[in-house]
Symmetry: C2
Subunit: 188 residues, 2 copies
């Protein structure tokens, strides 16, 4: 029984992610989410008394996936960051729950419980700082600009992807990434 | 009389821009737009029979402003592009009509008559091509990536600005811009 409830819950989260990603938080319809998950409105209400609770669950689920993107860095923070950028792009492209979580983070109409864009910014800032430690690059305040550039670039590519999928193609992401000065000391 | 009609029309476009920028196309309310412009619903309807017509007028008005950003380049395409990036950021920040036009271009719920994001992409691509002509930079296909990077960054910064105005501060935009390889041949 608990298994069945968990499966229903997880189907609802996925349907909600699809609906939120497509129509945004305000316009998302609970009836569509229930129908798409193959459950009654009553069952939806049992698991998620309010739309807000569903959005929170989608964000929490997206945040779990996000942890895979932003694992700890081992030897090279620069290398980890480069992989994280590709992983972020890849996850946004392929995973509707992650995408919905990012989009929900940007909604003005609700208070986000887990702001994924902010988390991404924090991760990038830490990774750039770790990569730049002791390098000549860190002199000029360029580390801060490098973080801003990486966050703006990834968010911009994700946003543009909705219009044309090429924007998050691996070749686009790596081409854009390679234009940035290498992190970790090779820039004077 | 014609002057009065033109002024009313222009007030309606500005109110519509504010409402579209704040709530998006679908949720924007004609009653708010009319009230905000200080005209009756009948007068709004006289000038713009449908919401679609209002959105088209906002886009057209935004496109006019955009022309100032993307003037022809004289001697240095790279220099013009650098100025255009700052001008785009500045206009997005300060001018609600331009902002509304860009946001309307990205709406899935309507067909844009003037897609400003696409126009920006076309401008950037041409300027990068002009800047790179004959330079060693053009060898590697990096010109295409440079265009993608510039478009993604500007769009990303504009998007992030809604959450925190620092993202379009002049120092952020120039800091990020300066990280990109100089256009026009200094990159091997």
């Amino acid at each position: 029984m608990r298994d069945k409830a968990a499966r229903t819950r997880s189907r609802l989260i996925r349907s909600a992610a699809t609906e939120f990603a497509e129509h945004g938080y305000v316009r998302a319809k609970l009836s569509t989410i229930a129908a798409d998950a193959g459950v009654s409105r009553g069952a939806l209400h049992f698991h998620f008394p309010k739309k807000e609770a569903l959005a929170d669950a989608v964000e929490a689920s997206a945040a779990e996936r996000f942890t895979d993107v932003t694992g700890d860095w081992d030897e090279s923070a620069a290398q980890s960051l480069s992989q994280a950028v590709q992983a972020f792009a890849d996850l946004y492209r392929r995973d509707v729950t992650f995408r919905a979580g990012v989009l929900l983070s940007c909604e003005k109409d609700r208070k986000s419980t887990v702001n994924l864009v902010q988390r991404w910014e924090e991760y990038v800032t830490s990774a750039v700082a770790a990569a730049e430690r002791g390098s000549p690059f860190s002199r000029s305040g360029a580390a801060r600009h490098a973080s801003s550039a990486i966050v703006a670039m990834t968010v911009g590519l994700a946003f543009l992807w909705h219009d044309n999928e090429q924007w998050l193609a691996e070749s686009t992401v790596s081409g854009v990434w390679n234009l940035l000065p290498p992190l970790g000391g090779r820039v004077g």
